[in-house]
């Protein structure tokens, strides 16, 4: 997490615009008051959606006996504890590391967004941490908590922040706008090629 942004730019309209544009990009956006709600949201989503795994070797893929998994590698220790406790109550596994052992699929990835760009409804994730990167790429459903104060109008307004990220090399910064998509077959838009099938943004009032 980086510096909070100056008060001036925190206009209501950036926030509204962000919501609107992210939804146009097929993200699902809601507002939460506290992190606990994100935990509940992630677990509910995890329970609702079907379990899906991928064959990554010659071994046949099976979902039988598999438990659902939430990957959340970059939470604070107390946040992770909370998630773990609540998940366990629903027979969901959690992990905060070892993503490379779960490349056959995890159900939900839970992360924090570093910036929001209202003009395009874009999340910015500063993720040199490989575990975090993988969690947000390999998961079927990505749930991302974005503090409201981190919403900027556009990339130009956030340019200084972005520069800071990138100058702190090595660095991996991801702009994420909606779920993974393609129009490569007959130009028909389809959601969920290699990345997450759904993107859920939870705007945290702060």
């Amino acid at each position: 997490m980086t510096d909070t942004k100056e008060q001036v730019a925190t206009s209501k309209s950036d926030y509204e615009k962000f919501m609107e544009r992210a939804e146009i990009a097929a993200a699902k956006v809601s507002t939460i008051q506290a992190f606990e709600e994100a935990v509940k949201y992630a677990i509910d989503l995890c329970l609702e959606r079907p379990l899906n795994r991928y064959a990554i070797s010659d071994e046949q893929v099976t979902t039988e006996g598999e438990r659902k998994v939430i990957a959340a590698p970059a939470l604070s220790p107390s946040e992770y504890e909370l998630l773990k406790e609540e998940s366990a109550a629903h027979s969901i596994d959690c992990l905060d590391s070892g993503m490379r052992n779960h490349l056959n699929g995890v159900d939900v990835g839970l992360s924090y967004g570093d910036l929001g760009l209202a003009e395009t409804g874009t999340l910015v994730l500063n993720c040199p941490n490989e575990e975090l990167r993988l969690a947000t790429m390999v998961c079927e459903y990505h749930v991302c908590v974005l503090p409201k104060s981190k919403i900027y109008n556009d990339g130009y307004e956030a340019e200084e922040q972005l520069r800071k990220f990138m100058l702190d090399a090595p660095n991996y910064t991801a702009f994420i706008t909606g779920p993974s998509r393609t129009a490569d077959i007959e130009r028909v838009l389809s959601i969920g090629v290699h990345g997450p099938l759904e993107l859920h943004i939870l705007i945290l009032e702060d």
Partner: protein, 720 residues
Amino acid sequence: MQEAKSLKTYRKECQESLDNEYLRSALDKFAVAYRVGRDKAFSEIDVEELVSEVADMKDETLKSLDQYLEQFARKAEEAGVVVHYAKDAEEANRIINEIGTKAGCQKVVKTKSMTAEETHLSHSMIDEGFEVTETDLGEWIIQLRDEPPSHMVMPAIHLSRYHVRDLFSEVTGKQEDEEIEKLVKVARHQMRRKFVEGEMGITGANFGVAETGSIGIVTNEGNARLVTTLPKVHVALLGIDKLVPTIGDALSQVKVLTRNATAQPITSYVTWVTGANQCGASEGETKEVHYVLLDNGRREMVADPLFSQVFRCVRCGACANVCPVYRLVGGHKMGHVYIGAIGLILTYFFHGEENAKHLVQNCINCEACKDICAGGIDLPRLIKEIHARIQDKDGQPIPSLLLSKIMRNRKLFHTLLRTAKWAQKPVKGEDGFMRHLPMMFFKEHDFKALPAIAEKPFRDIWLEIKPRVEKPKYRVGLFSGCVQDFVYPEQMVAAVELFQDHDVAMVFPMEQSCCGLPVQMMGDKKVSREVALQNLKAFIGEEVDYIVTLCASCASHLKHTYPVLLENNSKLAGQLSDFCEKVIDLSSFVHDVLKVTPEDFDGDGKKVTFHSPCHLCRGLGVHDAPGNLMRTAGMEYTEAAESEVCCGFGGTYSAKFPELSAQLLNNKLDNVEDTGADLLLTDCPGCIMQLRGGLKKRDSAMEVKHTIEALAERRKQQKK
């Protein structure tokens, strides 16, 4: 990939594409949908301003290219990247193969990269024994077919879901469903294992950011994130033209790139990789990262003062999206590796003259690409220039030589036209159309009836009708162009009548000749320059306020190309700019200068529609004047779908690629007939020739006229 050895073979291959119904309907739908989507994507943005801002930024970058390259490489190296320079494709491929071998990699996962297509990287790696998997869905599909991309952004746009179903069924060994959602999921499942097993990831880059040493990769599917994260080695291959100074500059490019490419405000992912990141698959948990900076003809290209603008290209593919020729033949026929207008140009610099020489002739000069280009590149001009360069070296083909010979001598040209009038006698029908045209290079022109040469050219009629105007409001020089002079003099006469009503004094300098566009299109710059000079001299000394022409192509050529053709003639520089300044097209003159009103006309509510000539709407930026004039003159005007798309005439183009020209014409006629109008108007005699001939062939009752004729016929005669 286009590599026909002769123009004849190339034409044959284009015909095959024309016969491919799936391709045609897919590209037709795309052409229409793209326009709508793009307009929406740019609705909140001043496109012109953004384009020129990005163009200026790139022009500035180019001026200090070495300095930025040095900064980019230094920053990247500081962050742990190994930076390589490759002078050509072969060297780039060798470097990358060596990296893979040294690191002990066998399995390679790739993202889509036009630069890697340019160097034929995959083939070279497969030859070296690597297993290469394209992970972008479209690229994977064409890899399974062992085909090159047919579009720079949508590589498999030429294939249907059924093609894909069959390909995927072969891969999975079971019958797959053709539902697109399901096919996408097949790719998701098949690719996951490839990502996991990949030892070396290869990407292109949309930007190299000098200030941070970062690369930016723009994708929708998310494969670039996996390819840059999972394997232990990452190689990015990027042309030196991908450099931008700052992150802000890269953001500006993203802004125009994604909107222009796929009409998206932004793609799902824009990935910024800086240096050697953490990687669990690598020794010491740090990824091995290489940047390979490719020249391969770029430096030679940008050192050329005319071609340096190509440095601005962001590879958005829009110049193909709007190209009427691309729409007919698809990317495999409209490019070697790079596709569309930019493809014709890059082929010459990256893949050699042999591969470019037929391609560059397949441009109808409609300027649609120039109009849409994210870099503001004057693509048609560059294409013509390459054509001319190749011809200067290889010599002109005979028909074009003949045309040049005739055109440089006005008297000979005009004598021939007058003689042709007699030669056509036996074959001329009652209705003014010739059944056959006894001209050698038009022998395959039979998709439309051709007009006959008029009894009396306008230059002869002028001597009889030249009006005396007392107390003129304006003084106008008439430039007829050869078609209106010798084929449709009645259109000039109509102009004279209407102008006279509005107290316009006129002159018609007799030394004027063809504007020179046909020879320019044939690639003969020298004669084109001679003809330009002749016309300029014909008007020197005439005291006029405007030079009016009824031909949009002439107008645009006189106004915009003469300054370029005659730029080295310093003696006439003053007269030249004065001349070009005064040139105006008919509709603009009547609409903006004469400012006609409904009181000037007796309207009859005739149902009309309009074909907007390329050189009127794009060449001169005139969009609304003709429609307004029709309403002012009391006609009922309905806009036709795609009214600004080329009718397929393109001067000598229709003689060179008659099959393509015929198809463009058909599309146009379908659209105008759909309006239900009885009368089709347009502002260019070439288009009139094309449209009348086409409607005649269809036995259509719709009439075609020049706008001036429709206006002149509805004048309030009693006024004078």
